[in-house]
Symmetry: D2
Subunit: 170 residues, 4 copies
């Protein structure tokens, strides 16, 4: 049987990075959120280590699919190609719409359930790039309903990945 690198899809990695960049998100922006989440617990943590784990998350097929779907929906909403009432729900980032959270959950879950807490925390606090994405929406008619949560989910998953790697065993 021909083997692929299990769960990872490296070929698609560059495409995902490019897609995020086009939507205004650099990996370093996400790594900064991961750093802010884990630095209080790991005194020797560096931004480089966080960057490494962000990249690792984005190489996972499950994360890639969630990212592709979320960005696609944001872009189609900006182009007005979604039928109502979903078009308005997405453009207004309607508070009772939970599909963005559920999509983010599929990214977070791959690194275990400890990521849930960090995801919820940054999704509410909106540090760094997450705040910028949020403001852009109100000002310029952009739609970042999904990207917002996706960025938070990648950052939280990378934080879990760091924690699982460096935390002391019991």
């Amino acid at each position: 049987m021909s083997e692929n690198n299990q769960l990872y899809d490296e070929k698609r990695y560059e495409l995902i990075v490019e897609r995020l960049k086009n939507r205004g998100v650099e990996l370093i922006d996400i790594a900064e959120i991961t750093y802010s989440l884990q630095a209080p617990y790991l005194s020797n943590l560096t931004l480089e280590i966080c960057m490494e784990h962000v990249e690792r998350v984005i190489k996972k097929r499950e994360a890639q699919h969630a990212i592709l779907v979320g960005i696609e929906l944001d872009m189609l909403a900006e182009e007005g190609k979604i039928s109502e009432p979903l078009q308005t729900i997405l453009m207004k980032d309607y508070g009772l719409f939970g599909v963005d959270e559920i999509l983010a959950l599929s990214i977070v879950n791959v690194y275990g359930s400890i990521g849930l807490t960090n995801f919820g925390y940054v999704d509410k606090n909106k540090p760094g790039i997450m705040k910028k994405l949020d403001n852009k929406v109100s000002n310029d008619g952009h739609c970042h309903t999904f990207l917002d949560d996706i960025v938070g989910a990648i950052a939280a998953a990378a934080a879990s990945s760091v924690a699982h790697k460096y935390a002391e065993s019991l």
Copy 2:
């Protein structure tokens, strides 16, 4: 404060029913799957009762949002409006794509975790309308990557709802 019917959005119910119909799914098709799942455990179960619970699931806002997103993605894929590689992933119903399952999970979860088993079971067995949707895809170039799982999720959630209502307390 003005009150809405909690968690339910009845206004949107008709729209969702219409949208499912346009995609080839009648509520009675879903109720039949629910009936097949619960009939072995409840001797007096009728198709009417199952129909009532299918309707109840579709009145839930969480389910409505998942249904709207799933059907939208299927339709946009059929129209060729999704960018690659997602367009091909959706048209081919790529086996390692799990966003359809995660979206379905958000429907199932609203009626508790006992629905997980029934969802997985029908998603693999593809009874009734689910088989028809599957065949249509191969034959006519339709895309039912999401609708498939959504139908299974509504049927499983309705089965949970029936079980929670009629099961004996311990």
Copy 3:
């Protein structure tokens, strides 16, 4: 067929309230967290309304089961009845243990995926009673590994319930 109140188990409600009380948690403590989460969005929100929704969450069978299991594990750990290594994992509230989060998720999910964010937020911030539970652990040898997350999950689910009831439709 004999009907129970769907998804609700009112008989068991009093038992759950008692069990929480014995572990140091009054419903009003949880309602205060819910209030702090939703007050910024709903100007007329009262603590009474939050209390009503906390009670509603605790009447749900899915929530009751998660609460019973979580409290049981905390108590058995305090009594030293759990076999190793789980006994130590629970007593030390080991950071990489995620079963508490996953159990909490089953409570949150019943009110839809918008609760995820609030759950993560309070799980990290530990407002009010959650902080007290946390401190008790370090000082008195109590085990609140599960109760902590359960309280946060009930508060977050009640916040979702409030949001779904009073939020404006789009």
Copy 4:
């Protein structure tokens, strides 16, 4: 910083294998379920490959924690050490109790959401060892409320792991 093998906890692996054995489950029993799930899609699949992936799942920390908690609850119930009503719920494997499914979900999720379908399928069909565990319960007063779902979840997660490794890229 001292590094552990990320997400994996090999030291604890032997303990988990032993614990499963004591409860009547050999890894090969689980590998057989994985084989039955994936063989239809991969003509060169062997039981050895399935065994390898079952081992891989059991090396994951998230899976280990869920296994430890589930088996502990089953054993404490057999010993009559759980307080009511949970004691009876566990001994009777009450159908509306969903904590076993949610715990299983945390194992399945680590290999992405495609595992959901396989988990639900085997949880209903109960192939091989799962049927034996089920029968033992009725005959000998054993409690396998959690072990049942845990075995299904490990098998389904291993099937996802196989699928992600050998499936053709799109």
